[in-house]
């Protein structure tokens, strides 16, 4: 359980992450139940109608009028989110064949399959905005759209699989739970689905680290080393500090985004401290301490210059990740072609049968 400390106003039914996701789902239903004309009245300004729907915390749906910039922002954000899920399969996929037991292997396989599923929910949500799947795939393969920088770090040991689940998925959840209340309906619904599945991911990561940190001294050291390497990159997942974040203000006004990068980063740190204590691991930040005045932890910011370098393509694994993705896409071409040819043949045969009958 975690997260109750940062959402007192949301009155989460089950408490914790899942409670907040369920609260978002309830809010979505309630918003839908509040009566509203399904479209602007004749002569009414569509922009005023759009603003009105957003103000009332209701959802914009695919065929509604929306400002071009709102559509563009969503396409960019949802697509990059989808790409992240797809690329995110690689660092963990690296350990499937070397998982320490059959149980761990089955769990990791299921988790990586979930990531593919999350990518597909999100691509489907992006497509409702009028962009095609092929375009999105091409934008990723050409490097014209980005994915989350965290996946450009290598998974050197089995403990890294635990650290990814606990920290990377944990940070993703802190980012994504507010997105369950995003103003664009298909995105909000996809996020509700994703978040429900993510909680399994985070717990399996925590469990891996818990087992290691209570194991032999070597296993403990491995767990600590993973935390040492993944802590700051995980903090960087929330993006640049608020002062430098280019898209934030408009996204907040449109209720695509609900909290600033720095607010979410603080939530994440506050959540992790107690969890790290239970793991018996040390967060690699000598300046981490409770600030009674702010009722939050003071902490060292991640190296944003490093984040910018990784975004620009100079992280440890950027090339490897993209090469792997391109190769996988090219290697799968014959499967897509064969399936399409088979579908065409089946259609032709059923046509012939109809003609003969």
């Amino acid at each position: 359980m975690y997260g109750n400390d940062f959402a007192p106003e949301e009155d989460a039914p089950g408490g914790g992450l899942l409670g907040q996701v369920e609260a978002a789902e309830v809010a979505l239903r309630e918003a839908a139940a509040r009566t509203r004309e399904a479209a602007p009245a004749p002569g009414e300004d569509p922009a005023a109608y759009f603003a009105d729907v957003i103000d009332a915390d209701q959802k914009i749906e695919p065929r509604d009028w929306m400002p071009d910039a709102y559509r563009r922002t969503l396409v960019r954000q949802i697509a990059q989110h989808a790409h992240s899920e797809i690329i995110g399969m690689q660092p963990e996929g690296n350990w499937i064949s070397r998982a320490p037991s059959l149980k761990r292997k089955a769990i990791l396989l299921a988790k990586v399959q979930d990531e593919a599923g999350h990518g597909l929910y999100l691509y489907a949500a992006a497509e409702t905005l009028g962009v095609s799947r092929d375009e999105l795939v091409e934008l990723l393969l050409d490097g014209r759209q980005k994915y989350s920088s965290i996946f450009n770090y290598p998974t050197l040991t089995w403990a890294d699989v635990g650290a990814i689940g606990w920290l990377v998925d944990g940070a993703a959840i802190v980012n994504q739970v507010p997105l369950c209340r995003c103003s664009y309906g298909p995105y909000a619904r996809a996020m509700i689905r994703v978040c429900k599945e993510e909680s399994f991911h985070q717990r399996q990561g925590f469990e891996i680290l818990h087992t290691l940190s209570h194991g032999t001294p070597a296993q403990r050291a491995m767990a600590q080393d993973a935390l040492d390497r993944w802590w700051y990159p995980s903090l960087a997942m929330f993006g640049p500090p608020d002062g430098d974040s280019t898209h934030s203000a408009q996204s907040m006004a449109w209720k695509i985004k609900r909290f600033s990068n720095d607010e979410l980063r603080q939530r994440f740190v506050d959540m992790c401290v107690q969890q790290a204590e239970i793991l018996g691991l040390t967060i690699p930040d000598p300046d981490l301490r409770w600030n009674d005045e702010r009722q939050a932890y003071d902490f060292t910011q991640p190296d944003y210059d490093e984040l910018m370098r990784v975004i620009k393509g100079e992280g440890p694994c950027n090339r490897q990740r993209m090469e792997h993705r391109r190769r996988a896409h090219a290697d799968g071409a014959w499967v897509r072609e064969a399936a399409t040819a088979y579908a065409a043949k089946q259609r032709a045969e059923s046509q012939r049968e109809k003609v003969a009958a």
């Binding site: 489907a124 497509e127 090219a330």
Partner: protein, 103 residues
């Protein structure tokens, strides 16, 4: 790895399908999302793998997205107008005198 002399492949776009899942016996099928698949059989298999990994359903429909005819939000007024002035279709329209039971 493909040799550089090979002609570039034309991307194969498989059609879009809308997916409806019946969560439990007694409930109606509900739209859960969409996916791409070359034919109906693969669309069903993909829908199972994508939308029911955690036993979310007991039955799946897949429908070619192109086969769905949707009303347009723009024509909302003229389209749904016929129902707008028939409040007498709702039981609450009628005033029931005090003392009448079972009505």
């Amino acid at each position: 790895m493909s040799a550089p002399s090979e002609p570039p492949r034309v991307p194969v776009t498989s059609p879009l399908w809308e997916v409806f899942v019946r969560a439990r016996r007694g409930l109606s099928h509900t739209h859960v999302g969409s996916l791409h698949a070359p034919d109906a059989e693969l669309a069903l298999h993909n829908a199972r793998d994508l939308y029911t990994r955690r036993q979310e359903g007991v039955s799946i429909w897949v429908v070619p997205a192109g086969a769905i005819i949707a009303s347009s939000p723009d024509e909302k007024d003229s389209f749904f107008d016929p129902a707008a002035d028939k409040v007498y279709r709702h039981p609450t329209f009628y005033e029931v005198p005090d003392g009448v039971d079972h009505l």
